[in-house]
């Protein structure tokens, strides 16, 4: 080591206060970071990281998932309701629509509706020409063979029993 350099080895070498102050200003941090700036930077970084992780915006995935579940529920519900539909056979439709009239079809008032009620009504219509208007069971304003059919159909209904 030369004499020229030895002068820097002296640890007790003193520097001027101004020089010391200038050096600190160069290398010290400029000051504390405000909290708002900190939060803004963190939020921005987080959003950027999430975007990179999922590849697509998060908002679009939720409707797709729920749409699939809703579609499945609609299909199941539609199938159940379809199987509960009323039969379309013409005579069955007559039986279903006239269930209220059937309760009035006990012509002989013996507590049950059977073919003898239809027979009695048919004989009344044929002998008198017209029967009591209370036997207008199908509500068409006329007591005729159609009302007799209502009684007969009620008599043979399976869900009524014997």
């Amino acid at each position: 080591m030369t004499d020229h350099n030895r002068q820097f080895d002296d640890a007790e070498q003193h520097v001027s206060p101004q020089f010391r102050k200038d050096l600190r200003a160069l290398f010290d941090p400029p000051g504390p970071v405000p909290q708002q700036v900190d939060k803004a930077i963190l939020a921005s970084a987080g959003a950027c990281l999430r975007k990179r992780k999922h590849g697509t915006p998060h908002r679009l995935i939720i409707p797709l998932r729920w749409a699939a579940v809703a579609a499945a529920a609609v299909i199941v519900l539609g199938t159940i309701l379809y199987h509960q539909a009323v039969p379309t056979n013409h005579q069955s439709s007559i039986i279903n629509h006239q269930s209220v009239a059937e309760r009035r079809a006990d012509i002989d008032d013996n507590g049950r509706v059977d073919i003898l009620d239809a027979f009695r009504l048919a004989r009344d219509i044929e002998s008198r020409g017209q029967a009591d208007t209370k036997w207008d069971l199908n509500g068409d304003g006329v007591v005729d063979r159609k009302d007799v059919d209502v009684v007969a159909v009620a008599a043979v209904r399976l869900d009524k029993g014997v």
Binding site: A72, A122, V162
Partner: protein
């Protein structure tokens, strides 16, 4: 998330396929023997004219499906009687008919024929119940009801 969407769609399609009866029926092979046979119903009203009748037929053994109903031999009951269409392709039926005319049968007469589809080899057993029988005055009469199987009437 894509897995959840895919799974939901697959589950929905599976449920739909299971609930469609045609698909499930098509997958079942038909192995039972099937034959068709008529059952003739006879009613004996004695010396009283028969003007109205009602009876119920039910299979209590064997597998049957009712495929058709025919009228009787006497002109008064030649037309097809009243019955519930829901009985077709089932094993129970209520049949009834009446005639307000003067030409009425007496004694034993065939009042109806029921055509059946019999599944399997076992011979079915039937329960036949007379619900009502009446003469031309509308008065109830006692009558004997029975059935006969086979093609001969």
């Amino acid at each position: 998330m894509k897995r959840i969407v895919t799974f939901s769609l697959v589950a929905a399609c599976s449920v739909l396929l299971l609930l469609i009866p045609q698909v499930s029926r098509a997958s079942k092979p038909a192995k039972q023997t099937t034959r068709f046979a008529p059952v003739h119903i006879y009613l004996d009203s004695g010396n009283k004219p028969l003007a109205a009748y009602q009876f119920e037929l039910k299979a209590i053994a064997g597998q049957i499906k009712i495929v058709g109903v025919e009228g009787g031999e006497h002109p008064a009951f030649k037309e097809a009687p009243y019955y519930d269409p829901a009985a077709l392709m089932n094993n129970r039926i209520i049949i009834a008919a009446f005639n307000t005319g003067d030409n009425l049968p007496t004694g034993r007469t065939r009042i109806a024929t029921i055509h059946l589809q019999i599944l399997g080899d076992a011979e079915p057993e039937y329960q036949l119940t007379l619900v009502a029988a009446a003469d031309n005055n509308g008065e109830k009469i006692s009558a004997e009801l029975n059935l006969q199987t086979g093609e001969n009437q």
